[in-house]
């Protein structure tokens, strides 16, 4: 989880205040010291931290908190509100030019992930907005950069415009836009070479591209792991080019991502997307309010629900529920359920989104082995239809066959069958409990 560290730290700070009847000025000061530390650990720029602390302290020491009936909670609220405000308002959309094609320029330092993000953005535009983008390879400097974009283009089946690495990027951009017009592309995504914000010559090149094609959006691509220097980079690119938005990459790492706060604070430009992996569909809109919740360790429940909705078939869920109630739940259904859970993404990531999960020490280091789930699937798939419907008929000889078929030891087959039996028992109890109006009870999955 991106902001894990910050969440933990703020949470332990808040714990001290929570439950207190009265907050003294000294309390607030002590807490602000912790907040400052946490933010610095998270790579938020020092100056940004200072401003933030000042603002929060003012509000916290002011009447708002001191006179409140629940001062501790009030402080948490203030910190969260200011954090959300710092990260910007609601998520933003991508511009649509009244005169197509809409031109988007991707800029940033070397290695931030511009080329990959260009591919992801193109994929996003087509899948979510039904657009037809043209990718433009304007990085003529880095060896094989053009080839990289071409390979990505092939993966998502989209055309890539290139004039090789001997033509000036400004001309490439101009010709690409002309080409897009002829071929009726509604978006043009220009992948520029990575460059240092202090490299005058290369920054001029970007300005020239900007003047030549008048882009509707200029996205600064920034590595989420960036430290204190993020402000210098963002400021410089913004002052020289006038960026319109930011895309934060590599947020699937374990960085605390304080750079997000810094960049937003110095440029006042919205963070539009975040990159969450190396696959081309791993680009997601940035949700400041959710990120703030995450920072404060309140869990990212909204994302979890969205993921569940996207991957669980409503009809199937209802059917499953009925089967559970009528006790006709079979190994087939179990298999189905497993695959639906897996569709939601890596399990340890899902776990981390749960509220409070960041605080549970054991959960922090847990790595749910996806392989184990695949083993369970293999075992079930090695059974005959009859066996899946009526597992009780599985005798020693059948077990040997299943073990052989799935390539798993016979003990694992035994364990699975036993656990499935227990699960059914538990379902029975749960249904009974529900009938009595109680709601407690937990499902135990064989792989947990």
């Amino acid at each position: 989880m991106a902001f894990e560290g910050l969440a933990d730290r703020l949470q332990s700070t808040m714990q001290k205040i929570r439950g207190k009847g009265k907050v003294t000025e000294a309390d607030v000061k002590a807490m602000m010291r912790e907040v400052r530390l946490a933010l610095l650990y998270a790579d938020v720029n020092l100056k940004v931290v200072k401003d933030f602390i000042k603002k929060v302290s003012e509000r916290a020491v002011g009447q708002e908190v001191m006179r409140s009936l629940t001062p501790g909670q009030q402080v948490i609220k203030v910190v969260k509100e200011e954090l959300t405000a710092l990260m910007g308002g609601e998520q933003s959309k991508i511009a649509v030019s009244p005169k197509p094609p809409t031109v988007i320029m991707m800029v940033g330092l070397q290695g931030a992930g511009k080329t990959t993000t260009t591919g992801k953005l193109a994929n996003h535009l087509r899948k979510k907005h039904n657009r037809n983008p043209l990718l433009v390879a304007a990085d003529i400097y880095r060896p094989a950069a053009i080839k990289q974009l071409q390979t990505l283009g092939k993966q998502i089946n989209m055309p890539v415009f290139t004039l090789g690495d001997k033509v000036n990027p400004v001309d490439i951009a101009k010709k690409a836009v002309e080409q897009a017009r002829t071929d009726h592309h509604d978006y043009v995504l220009i992948d520029t070479a990575g460059r240092l914000h202090i490299d005058g010559e290369l920054m001029d090149e970007l300005k020239n591209i900007k003047d030549a094609v008048k882009p509707d959006e200029i996205f600064l691509v920034v590595d989420a792991m960036t430290g204190q220097d993020a402000v210098n980079v963002a400021k410089s690119f913004n002052e020289q080019l006038g960026i319109t938005g930011v895309i934060l990459t590599k947020l699937d790492g374990d960085t605390r991502g304080g750079a997000a706060l810094s960049i937003r604070a110095v440029t006042e430009k919205p963070i539009k997307f975040v990159g969450l992996g190396e696959k081309l569909d791993q680009l997601e809109p940035f949700h400041p309010e959710r990120m703030a919740s995450r920072i404060l360790g309140m869990g990212d429940v909204l994302t979890l629900i969205e993921k569940a909705q996207a991957s669980v078939d409503e009809e199937k869920a209802k059917e499953l529920e009925k089967k559970m109630r009528t006790m006709s739940f079979t190994l087939d259904d179990f298999l189905e359920q497993l695959s639906q859970v897996r569709n939601m993404g890596p399990l340890d990531e899902l776990l981390k989104m749960l509220p409070g999960a960041g605080k549970m020490k054991g959960l922090n280091n847990i790595h749910i082995d996806e392989k184990q789930i695949r083993h369970v699937e293999a075992i079930i798939q090695s059974m005959t239809t009859e066996e899946k419907q009526k597992p009780e008929i599985i005798n020693a000889s059948r077990k040997r066959r299943i073990a052989k078929g799935s390539g798993r030891p016979i003990q694992e087959v035994n364990r699975l069958l036993k656990q499935f039996e227990e699960m059914k028992k538990m379902m029975k109890q749960m249904t009974n409990m529900q009938k009595k109006g109680k709601k407690r009870g937990a499902l135990k999955f064989p792989f947990m």
């Binding site: 914000h197 220097d229 790492g253």
Partner: protein, 322 residues
């Protein structure tokens, strides 16, 4: 204007000269350093809380780990008290010395590569995405080749689009052969083939590229462990160096990177890239202190000869530049 502003002002002009030398690969002597510090004598005023606070902020903004900063500043405070230092000039010397000390300790040669005198040397390059592994390998190949070594490259990044081609371009530029498989193939198999080829061609140094990976991706880290195992199986004392390539713009996460990659592959040194920007990569000081991994080389640009041995003194002066 605080004393440190003046200090910085003075140093900014000097640092350019220092960095210039750094770039030219000139090694400065300690006397040289002392001389430069002496130049500042006149500027100094008194040592007080404000001074330490400003110092702390300079360190924080250079991405030196927070714990290290607090520790450093506390030590300096104590020493200032003990030695009854009131003039900041004397303390300045201490600051630079302390930072440099972290690097050198007893051994001044930590920034050289540990390669065997005879037989094949294997260097494995690891790191997260986009730090400049492939570029660094290209530059390293050039460097070793100009030292008269026979070099071979292994295209172990079989994942990222265009990675193999990128290494091939560097191979062409440096006149060094590249052993490769197709995109998507098993990196351990590529490395295995490269070792066999290196042995039969009597190569001196084999440089192994790997795909960038975030350190919290368990499966990918396991893949890296496997690559290392394959190398060890073929040559028990190899890899002779495992170099973690680190982007100087990275913040505190670099410590986690160093820890995890060390655990998985036994990192022996760091290559700090993109130091030609405004980022300082100060976290390497904390990494040296906590994990004892030294920086061996720094990347100062995109040109083929922009890889330089790390010079702690020049680097420490650089920390104070704006």
């Amino acid at each position: 204007m605080g004393f440190l502003d003046k200090f910085k002002e003075k140093f900014t002009s000097q640092t350019e000269a220092v960095t210039g030398k750094f770039k030219d690969g000139l090694l400065k002597t300690r006397q040289n350093l002392t001389e430069k510090v002496n130049d500042l004598v006149a500027r100094y005023r008194k040592v007080d809380e404000e001074f330490f606070e400003e110092l702390e902020e300079i360190f924080i903004q250079a991405d030196i780990g927070f714990d290290t900063v607090i520790e450093l500043v506390d030590e300096l405070k104590m020493e200032a008290k003990r030695k009854k230092i009131q003039q900041s000039e004397l303390l300045k010397e201490m600051i630079v010395e302390k930072l440099v000390e972290i690097y050198y300790g007893e051994d001044e040669n930590i920034s050289t590569l540990n390669l065997p005198d005879t037989g094949l040397a294997v260097i494995l390059f690891v790191g997260v995405n986009g730090v400049g592994k492939t570029t660094t390998i290209g530059k390293m190949a050039y460097k070793l080749k100009s030292e008269g070594k026979r070099v071979l490259l292994a295209a172990g990044d079989t994942f990222r689009a265009g990675a193999i081609e990128q290494l091939e371009v560097w191979g062409d530029r440096t006149g060094v052969e590249v052993i490769k498989h197709q995109e998507g193939s098993d990196p351990a198999a590529v490395i295995y083939d490269a070792i066999q080829a290196a042995k039969s061609r009597k190569v001196d140094v084999l440089l192994c590229d790997t795909a960038g990976r975030l350190q919290n991706k368990v499966n990918l880290m396991k893949e890296l462990e496997k690559v290392k195992r394959v190398i060890q199986r073929e040559i028990p004392e190899a890899p002779h160096e495992v170099l973690l390539v680190l982007d100087a713009t990275t913040g505190q996460n670099a410590m986690v990177q160093a820890k995890q990659f060390k655990e998985a592959t036994g990192v022996t040194g760091i290559v700090l890239t993109k130091l030609d920007g405004t980022a300082k990569g100060g976290i390497v000081i904390a990494i040296k202190k906590e994990l004892n991994i030294p920086v061996k080389f720094v990347g100062l640009g995109e040109k083929i000869d922009d890889l330089q041995p790390f010079d702690a003194e020049a680097y420490v002066y650089g920390l104070f530049a704006e």
